[in-house]
Amino acid sequence: MSTYVERFPAEAKVIRSAFYVSFVSLAIGALMGLLQTLHRTGMFEVFSEPGTYYTVLTTHGVFLVIAFTIWFLVGVFVWAVTTSLDRGVESLRFTWSWYGLMSLGTALAGIAILAGFVDDWPIVGDVSADVLFTFYAPLQAHPMFYLGLAIFIVGTWVAGVDWFRSWWVWKQENPDERIPLPTFMVLTTMLMWYIATLGVAVAVLAFLLPWSLGLLETVNPLLTRTLFWFFGHPVVYFWLMPAYMMWYLLLPKISGGRLFSDPLARVVFILFLILSVPTGIHHQYLDPGISEGFKFIAMTNTMFLLLPSLLTAFTVVASMEHGARQRGGEGHFGWLKALPWGNPAFTGMALAGLMFAAGGFSGMINAGMNINYLVHNSFWVPGHFHLTVGTAVALTFMASTYWFLPQLTGRKLFSRPLALVQVVLWFVGMTFMSNAMHRAGLLGIPRRTAEPWYDGFEFEAGVGSVGELNAQIALGGTLLTLSVAIFLVVVIGTALNGKSSEIETSVIPEPLSGPEDSPLVLDNLKLWTVIAVVLVVLAYTLPLASIIDRGGLLGPGGRAFPMSLDSLVVLAQLATEGALPR
């Protein structure tokens, strides 16, 4: 009984079901990415009506960073809790209930977005949600979008309850044991998530949903925006912490070594819990209505949030080095050759980590308060997050799928060489794309823009030309799409593969320095939660109070601008007003 599916067949089914939703979202999102990259670089005029670009962009953003990532990570968390506590979920019905809630939410929000591709629907009329991932009011989506989002998030809350419940029952039976590391990681991540999602829950339930239903006439755009970023920054750690978890648990094992330090892994996750949320204002460095002092505080918190990532870099690389040395690696750098580069799960995660080192750097620039003038909302920003969520997280998830799938299905991976080519292709494609995006951003080329070419001026490339950068971006984006296609082929191929008995054991080796070396206080989740909440209160009370005091709960401004206006009407209005020269 070594594979996961043999030990927990019912849970394996839950995880597989979550993964498959995740992969379908990945396929849809990746296709949208291809359309965007070709259109906005001017390689092909994909959209005859450029407004469609924003429907595509919303689909790309929401399906990838919300659906693909979160559906995958809930699957991983079920795996982590059940294997490390060595017990199945307490109630399968309960588990499927959060699965159902999340599915309903995904379907509602997804349909609202995809409906934007068609101008008019019978009976319901115009449905769309071209508001992008950030849905800044006063741009307004169809109520179904906000409702779907809310239900989805409630689904993740219930999932968290499921895992806390497992841990609680386990604790009653094992009162003196340390929380196993994988469960510890799940619980701290979920605590962070509960705090973080309060912001978006308030924004959606108290303001945006009633407003989209016509119950409120106006909202305060700065307030809903601030509440979004209260959630919008920590959500990146909700994606990242499961990727870190893979690096802490799977990378050492696959490298043939052991985790370097269990206590430091715990410290890292605690730092994420307490520091992730009071940082969101760093996305608002250029927002009027928030004082410079609050921005400075957000920067300080954000910079200290580098610490857990920098610590992770050391611990994870050291664990890999341990594996490499056990496999006979020598020298200061020679040990790198002894790593299992032929294993797609290893190579994918190692390359993801490497690209994250680069993404970490551009993140430091983003987090710098005044240097933000240089890069804010420029193409630099998507360059950055395609390295973080788009590679550190996405490539880690894909690579770990190559390890998970055989565990979850009992079937051998369809094709290791193809899988290896897939992860390497991602690395190459992303190198081209994100490099050029960063450089294009420094020229002032904006993000989120269908056709970033203008009548009155041109962007001046100090080095190279805008055309070269666009070509690199389009080439990179195409390679990435190809990579996703290969990934899906491997997944489908594996699902159709025959059962195999040659699958390696799912047991994670003991860390070099185990939990017995770490102080007990690290496991005091109550304490860390209280500290996290206090820090959030300190960081956010005054800015929020100031925003409400200045503009009021429901204003100033914030009259609805529904994104379901017929585009032809808008165009006609503008043409008659002579507002547009083109």
């Binding site: 341990h322 594996g323 496999r327 006979g328 032929g342 620039i365 003038y373 240089l374």
Partner: protein, 62 residues
């Protein structure tokens, strides 16, 4: 390609293992970070004039 089974040649315990390779790699990373930060701030950012200044600091005099 060979089926995976770590071809372990030796066992290294906690005390026998010094992550000297990691220290070397991460030391290089540190130098790259510092150099890139200085370049981005002082060359790319401060060289991208004009920049938003405070009226208090300049006192309105030029």
């Amino acid at each position: 390609m060979a089926l995976e089974e770590p071809q372990q040649k030796r066992q290294l315990g906690h005390d026998e293992f010094d992550p000297v390779g990691t220290l070397a790699l991460i030391g290089l990373y540190f130098l790259v970070l510092v150099a890139m930060w200085l370049f981005m701030y002082f060359v790319e950012f401060l060289g991208n004039d004009p920049t938003v200044v405070g009226t208090l600091v300049t006192g309105g005099a030029i």
